[in-house]
């Protein structure tokens, strides 16, 4: 799982990255809010951990900017004990959970696990990108007309819609959508991208999935 860590205190960042890395997360560490927003724009993460007080852009502003880009990746933010107002503002800005400093590493790991568990549970929600609406619960995608999706197609489309305008590699897509059948050939990703591309065409969508020719795919507006 990919985790974006934004913490400006270098020593704390190093320690967190080491513990999270040891627990199996692939950690990208940035040191200010602006870099966090940039990283979230370019890559798909499963969870983000942000400090509140950071240079250039605070953790709060960063969460707000990320949510404005319709990125719903779970965010855990770290705050000092006295910052009650910050905790309220953080949750209101779109963060999912918080942890007050100082905290036990065990609790941080448990909260991160809890957040990522939530994101992998199939949500009963409607997502929209361009003029296309994905109703993941009813396995339906619609624009000019509607079309049914197979389970894995809906799951893949949901992941792409949660991470639009970013190139995402075959391995990453495979690990997210086919984690329950690891023996499957990774070529399945290309096949399902092909299914979705043609289904998007069939509903006259204003969005499409492009490939970079090296196995990465991007959901983008036409």
């Amino acid at each position: 799982m990919k985790l974006l860590l934004a913490e400006d205190e270098k020593d704390l960042s190093r320690a967190l990255a080491a513990v999270l890395g040891h627990s199996g997360y692939e950690v990208t560490a940035v040191y200010d809010g602006e870099a966090a927003v940039e990283a979230a724009k370019k890559n798909a993460y499963d969870v983000m951990v942000f400090d509140i007080m950071m240079p250039k852009m605070t953790g709060l502003e960063a969460v707000r900017a990320i949510r404005t880009n319709s990125d719903m990746t779970p965010v855990l933010f770290l705050t000092a004990k006295s910052e009650v107002d910050d905790r309220i503002a953080g949750l209101d800005a779109g963060a999912d959970d918080y942890l007050t400093k100082p905290f036990a590493m065990g609790e941080l790991l448990a909260r991160v696990r809890s957040l990522t568990r939530r994101s992998t549970v199939y949500g009963a929600r409607e997502l929209r990108f361009g003029s296309v609406i994905l109703d993941a619960e009813h396995l339906e995608m619609k624009r000019e007309n509607s079309i049914r999706l197979a389970n894995k197609e809906a799951h893949l489309m949901e992941y792409l819609m949660l991470n639009p305008n970013k190139y995402i590699g075959t391995d990453e897509l495979f690990n997210h959508i086919w984690s329950d059948e690891p023996q499957t050939d990774k070529g399945i990703v290309f096949v399902y991208v092909s299914f979705l591309k043609n289904k998007l065409l069939s509903i006259d969508a204003d969005i499409t999935i492009d490939a970079d020719g090296r196995g990465s795919y991007i959901l983008t507006e036409i």
Partner: protein, 205 residues
């Protein structure tokens, strides 16, 4: 002998025009088979609209029951339905028809992109065909209209079922059945797209 057909003295020409159009379509299919090894369509159905249906349609549209209405206002006295195996075959066939000499497409309705609210999918063309025969406006050579409906096998069986729902009176839960039929149309459309995609994957492999 007086002719009391709504098509008047032009009635005799309709099968000839239809025959000529069918021949053009079959020829296009034969050429496509030679070029690609695949057929353009799975099967072809043709019909001349019956006396009864033609009169009913004129009444429904508020046109007088005359040959002029049935051959000039009404443009589907001659009808052809082409049922294709794959989605792309529909568009290949339309491309072929576009190239017919002496045939002009005067109207085109894409109910595959702009699906009807009940889920109906099909591609409709109205053609104007040059013929050696006199037409209802007195022109020689005359022009006759024909409608071509193109759809996949899945769309065709769906339309057959929908037709039953529409013409059977007093169905209980007809609203519920209509909603299920719509869902079914979207599932069949998904199958059509998936089969088309698999065919592309096989071809490009």
């Amino acid at each position: 002998m007086p002719n009391d057909s709504i098509y008047g003295k032009y009635e005799a020409f309709l099968p000839l025009v239809l025959e000529e159009l069918s021949n053009k379509i079959r020829q296009a299919d034969a050429i496509y088979r030679i070029q690609t090894g695949d057929p353009l369509f799975e099967h072809i159905n043709t019909r001349i609209k019956s006396e009864e249906s033609a009169r009913e349609k004129c009444r429904r549209k508020g046109w007088p029951e005359t040959a002029h209405s049935a051959l000039y206002e009404m443009k589907d006295a001659i009808g052809v339905r082409l049922v294709c195996s794959f989605l792309e075959d529909i568009f290949e066939t339309v491309r072929a028809i576009r190239g017919f000499s002496g045939v002009r497409i005067v109207e085109e309705k894409d109910y595959i992109k702009k699906v009807k609210p009940n889920g109906y999918r099909s591609y409709h063309l109205i053609l104007e065909i040059e013929t050696p025969f006199e037409d209802v406006l007195g022109r020689v050579p005359g022009r006759y209209y024909a409608e071509i409906q193109l759809r996949t096998i899945a769309m065709d069986s769906w339309a057959a079922l929908e037709h039953q729902l529409r013409y059977k009176k007093n169905i209980s839960n007809s609203e519920l059945i209509g909603a299920e039929l719509k869902r079914c149309a979207d599932e069949l459309a998904a199958c059509d797209v998936s089969m088309q995609t698999i065919r592309e994957l096989i071809r490009n492999a």
